[in-house]
């Protein structure tokens, strides 16, 4: 393949994967913080309020990282993908500008008040602000997913004689059916990340016998929310997303399922390594007829295989696409299992003492990040070789006037800078976790650790 195209893709992939570590935390946490704050408002629960103040600190740092690494994303459309931008700017510029205008301003304007304004605003005002930050973060996500969805499944457009793409309907763009399903799946994914992160730190404190009250509150909330989200990620959002991919991007669907040849009663691949020389799977474990059932609700229905498409219409990296999808699905199943067990013990009132499960929650924290990244990798590799599905090829989209040497310069620069950011973020997180939530107010004479 064209090395320049590959290098541009590499830089975009690297910067967006790194960036997406942070928004998934922000989106997940803003929901959880809003729920905690709602508890405070309804019951006057001071423990929940202490939890809110603790999680706000983590949200603040994470949001900062998200902004810092997010601004380069928007500008890279122009710097690295100028031919794509010149043709599609009239459409995707809309949602990108809307994100700034309607969501990002709201989020950034009220975040400071959420972090530092509790005394100034009072409890009701603080709750309002937590709602606005939550809404801003989630709205921001919708506009970005909407942009991506248009590239996956272009709607509401018209191609002009000079090949530029004009938008024909604003509501068409915002109500893109692909965007709604994709967003539901993406948003649920961020809630899983937020829940696991909260559960991880709560478990950490419980295992060390520290900050007991706050930790138990956080554990209960995160396990309940995490269990619901894990289920919703599979059914209905995951299922709907897969059906949508089968309907609109059948080649991508075949590649991600590892389904090479069209057949009636297609099996669902659980494990196996795609062999691109023979177009078969090595060491497969397959559930017979299950893929047909999942796509058509009939056990013997025909499912189109990858070889049915001409080579230049197939995704160009089939094995990574296949693995990304299977990793996501596999981890998703594990999430349901872990959270299911946890919720069982929570109902029995034993979760906070069950060291095995607490250890599991503590160690599971990287998994939702991997699952979310794998999910996006599936979407992006699956769309290939198109940058706008069936309209423009990725190899036609990058900036021709930027030499590969200059892209190496920026790619290495981003890698170096983001490496430093990682250390910094980790260091700050350790600081916050070590400091822990503020102790309970004095009347409860005993120190929190003793209880």
């Amino acid at each position: 393949m064209d090395p320049a195209a590959l290098l541009n893709r590499l830089q975009f992939a690297f910067t967006i994967i790194y960036h997406y570590i942070f928004p998934q935390i922000t989106m997940g946490l803003t929901l959880l913080i809003f729920l905690l704050k709602t508890m405070v408002l309804l019951t006057g629960d001071e423990t929940a309020n202490r939890a809110v103040r603790f999680w706000m600190k983590i949200l603040g740092i994470t949001f900062l990282m998200g902004v810092g690494t997010g601004i380069p994303m928007e500008f890279q459309f122009g710097t690295n993908w100028s031919r794509f931008s010149a043709l599609a700017g009239g459409v995707i510029g809309q949602t990108l500008a809307m994100e700034g205008m309607f969501a990002f301003f709201m989020e950034s304007a009220f975040l400071y008040l959420l972090l530092y304004g509790e005394k100034r605003l009072g409890q009701l005002g603080h709750w309002m602000v937590s709602l606005l930050v939550f809404a801003g973060a989630w709205l921001s996500g919708y506009f970005i997913v909407c942009t991506n969805a248009w590239m996956q499944h272009p709607v509401a457009y018209r191609i002009l004689p000079d090949h530029r793409i004009a938008l024909t309907s604003l509501s068409g763009l915002l109500n893109n059916p692909w965007a709604i399903i994709q967003y539901a799946h993406v948003a649920i994914g961020t809630v899983i990340t937020g829940s696991f992160l909260m559960a991880c730190l709560a478990s950490f404190y419980l295992l060390r016998d520290k900050h007991d009250e706050v930790a138990r509150k956080c554990l209960a909330l995160s396990v309940v929310v995490g269990f619901i989200a894990s289920c919703l990620a599979a059914m209905p959002t995951g299922d709907l997303t897969a059906k949508q991919v089968y309907k609109y991007q059948p080649a991508a669907f075949a590649a991600m399922e590892g389904h090479f040849h069209t057949q009636d009663g297609a099996g669902l691949v659980v494990i196996g390594q795609p062999n691109m020389q023979t177009m078969t799977l090595d060491n497969p474990i397959i559930i017979p007829d299950a893929l047909s059932f999942l796509t058509h609700q009939r056990w013997n229905a025909e499912v189109i295989g990858l070889t049915a498409f001409p080579p230049d219409q197939r995704p160009d990296f089939v094995p990574p696409l296949y693995y990304a999808y299977h990793i996501m699905v596999g981890l998703g199943t594990i999430f349901i299992a872990i959270m299911g067990l946890c919720i069982l013990f929570l109902v029995l009132g034993k979760l906070h003492k069950h060291r095995g499960l607490l250890w599991a929650l503590l160690l599971a924290v990287p998994l939702p990040f991997i699952a979310n990244t794998a999910g996006w990798t599936t979407a992006e590799l699956g769309r290939q070789p198109w940058i706008i599905y069936q309209i423009m090829r990725t190899s036609e989209g990058y900036s021709q006037n930027v030499s590969t040497g200059n892209i190496w310069f920026s790619l290495l620069g981003f890698m170096g800078l983001y490496l430093c950011l990682s250390f910094l973020y980790f260091f700050l997180m350790v600081q916050i976790v070590r400091a822990g939530p503020e102790p309970a107010p004095q009347p409860s004479a005993k120190p929190v650790e003793m209880r």
Binding site: M106, A109, N401, G413
Partner: protein, 345 residues
């Protein structure tokens, strides 16, 4: 329609310069007016609430440019590839500096972020100024008007093969540093007290004089270098109002400051920045990206998105901008009227 978007684009660009320029200017002055930890903490506190919303303008500028003038995004962002990357990294460094400095109380930690904040602010001002200089001077577009690429520098001369930095754009860069430092000093003059305020007030006098001189030189050079400025002035003589207004605002800013009306002086400085950028926009119209050889330049009409996109964009853009104005009013109204030197937090 294209002209309207041209105005809106320059309008939000100027809004970013006026609002975001304040905290960049404060950053430039960081070491000059803040001589110890307590004073520097006061400086950071004075912009901590507003820098993030201010910076979001950049996202909106990017998005608006994208939706209204996709060809401009394609040409200029890829053409200035290296400079854009540098700006993006500087923005990250600066944001970290502001937000992290006081998270941990430790002399080494705050030193690190003080330097990051100051250095990134200075370089950012130079970069933004140099970018403006490039737009005024024109970039090496060829006769098809399609592709150009500028390295950081070539020989610093205004040949046909210029880099981003030549003597003219460096001059505009320095002017920007001074202009934003002046603007930032007015902010500190109003919102702080004690030694920081006193030093800002003392600096303001010299900054103002220097600014008037270098700005005058820049205006003169721009008029000579960019023929479109003269063409537009001849065709629409009323345009002379804009630079005159800028001059009047600058003068007014000084007299308000001398009368001790610090907030009004800051606002007048903001208006003068608006007027300066409006003059620039007026001088360059209809070019969104002028070329070294004038007729190869990219005009608003050539760069604009399809008409439908422009029309639909307008439907939400205007209400959106009003909404943002409300957020801004809210955030700024929630701000304390003074950030005193001594606070216990």
């Amino acid at each position: 329609m294209e002209t309207l978007w041209f105005c809106l684009f320059w309008g939000i660009l100027a809004t970013f310069v006026v609002s975001g320029g304040t905290d960049i200017g404060v950053g430039i002055l960081h070491f000059f007016v803040g001589r110890n930890d307590q004073q520097r903490r006061q400086i950071i506190r004075s912009i901590h609430e507003v820098w993030k919303p201010n910076e979001v303008w950049l996202v909106v500028i990017g998005g608006t440019m994208f939706l209204a003038f996709p060809a401009l995004v394609a040409e200029s962002l890829s053409g200035f590839y290296l400079a854009i990357m540098l700006v993006l990294w500087l923005l990250i460094g600066r944001g970290l500096g502001i937000d992290l400095r006081d998270r941990i109380v430790d002399p080494m930690w705050s030193q690190l972020w003080d330097v990051a904040f100051w250095l990134c602010s200075v370089l950012l001002a130079v970069c933004l100024g140099a970018a403006l200089g490039n737009f005024v001077r024109g970039v090496p577009l060829d006769e098809t008007g399609s592709v150009f690429f500028e390295g950081f520098w070539t020989n610093f001369e205004l040949g046909s093969n210029t880099g981003i930095l030549d003597w003219f754009t460096i001059l505009v860069g320095i002017t920007t540093v001074i202009a934003l430092a002046h603007h930032g000093a007015l902010w500190l003059n109003h919102f702080t007290d004690g030694p920081v305020q006193e030093r800002s007030a003392r600096l303001l006098h010299r900054l103002w004089l220097t600014l008037v001189v270098v700005l005058g030189v820049c205006v003169l050079l721009s008029t000579i270098l960019q023929p479109q400025v003269r063409i537009n002035l001849v065709a629409h003589p009323w345009g002379i109002i804009l630079p005159l207004a800028a001059g009047a605002m600058m003068y007014w800013c000084r007299s308000l400051r001398q009368r001790g009306r610090t907030l009004q002086a800051y606002l007048a400085s903001g208006l003068s920045l608006y007027a300066i950028l409006a003059s620039t926009a007026f001088g360059l119209y209809p070019y969104v990206l002028p070329a070294r050889i004038p007729e190869h330049g990219l005009t608003a009409f050539k760069a604009a998105a399809p008409y439908d996109s422009l029309k639909l964009g307008l439907c939400w853009w205007i209400p959106g901008a009003l909404l943002v104005a409300c957020y801004f009013a809210y955030v700024y109204s929630k701000m304390p009227s003074k950030f005193p030197l001594d606070v216990e937090e």
